[in-house]
């Protein structure tokens, strides 16, 4: 079975500073990888996804993530954060060759931006 570990439950950063949110996954087969963002009292919005090809994936709002198969990681980065990036971020995984896909989520990382 696959699983996702988000290494930091909270990450405080100053506005305009860079940020990295860490994610490691475990699976015996190939996976698709995702990052979702959840703003207060809202559902989940897809930031970016890795399906195949280039290991550097660019998403919305200036975020990007790099798939590292040898380290089974998919860390999310942004070079300069804004107050509006304050939210909960979830890393997620699904199996590539599953006839009935489901997405498994990590426990989330709360990103708080300080002015």
């Amino acid at each position: 079975a696959q699983s996702v570990t988000q290494l930091d439950s909270q990450v405080p950063v100053f506005e305009e500073a860079p940020v990295e949110l860490r994610c490691n996954y475990s699976s015996s087969v190939s996976v698709y990888l995702f990052w979702y963002v959840q703003y207060p009292n809202q559902g989940l919005q897809l930031l970016l996804k890795y399906l195949s090809g280039s290991t550097l994936v660019k998403g919305i709002n200036g975020f990007e993530a790099e798939f590292n198969k040898s380290q089974t990681s998919f860390h999310l980065r942004k070079p300069s954060v804004h107050i509006s990036d304050t939210a909960e971020y979830f890393c997620a995984v699904s199996l590539v060759y599953s006839s009935a896909s489901k997405i498994i989520f990590g426990s989330g990382t709360r990103l708080s931006i300080r002015p």
């Binding site: 699904s94 896909s101 989520f105 989330g108």
Partner: protein, 113 residues
């Protein structure tokens, strides 16, 4: 283009009661998945419906049941509510995409008192 629509947005139920949550998938989507998100936690997979059948189920008791209609909309039913069922219930839709990513609704906040 309407996204995923969930109703109601909030509701309060008493322990032991039954509740039904509803979800309309994004236009063009035919698969609906339900998740439970307790406060401060990541979403937990409940089950997934495709072609009006439950295709996969997470680690949830039989008190949690669902249904998918011919128009692809779906319902989540929870019987004999417990205080621990209080959570945000999220519906997600997709098009037979074998896990390429879901579109989520804004959720239904259920409070059991």
């Amino acid at each position: 283009d309407a996204g995923v629509t969930q109703s109601p947005t909030h509701l309060i139920k008493t322990r032991g009661q039954q509740v039904t949550l509803r979800c309309s998938p994004k236009s063009g989507h035919d698969t609906v998945s339900w998740y439970q998100q307790a406060l401060g936690q990541g979403p937990q997979f409940i089950f997934q419906y495709y072609e009006e059948e439950e295709r996969q189920r997470g680690n949830f008791p039989d008190r949690f049941s669902g249904h998918q209609f011919p128009n692809y909309s779906s319902e989540l039913n929870v019987n004999a509510l417990l205080l621990g069922d209080s959570a945000l219930y999220l519906c997600a839709s997709s098009f037979r995409d074998r896990g390429h990513g879901y579109t989520f609704g804004s959720g239904t906040r259920l409070t059991v008192v």
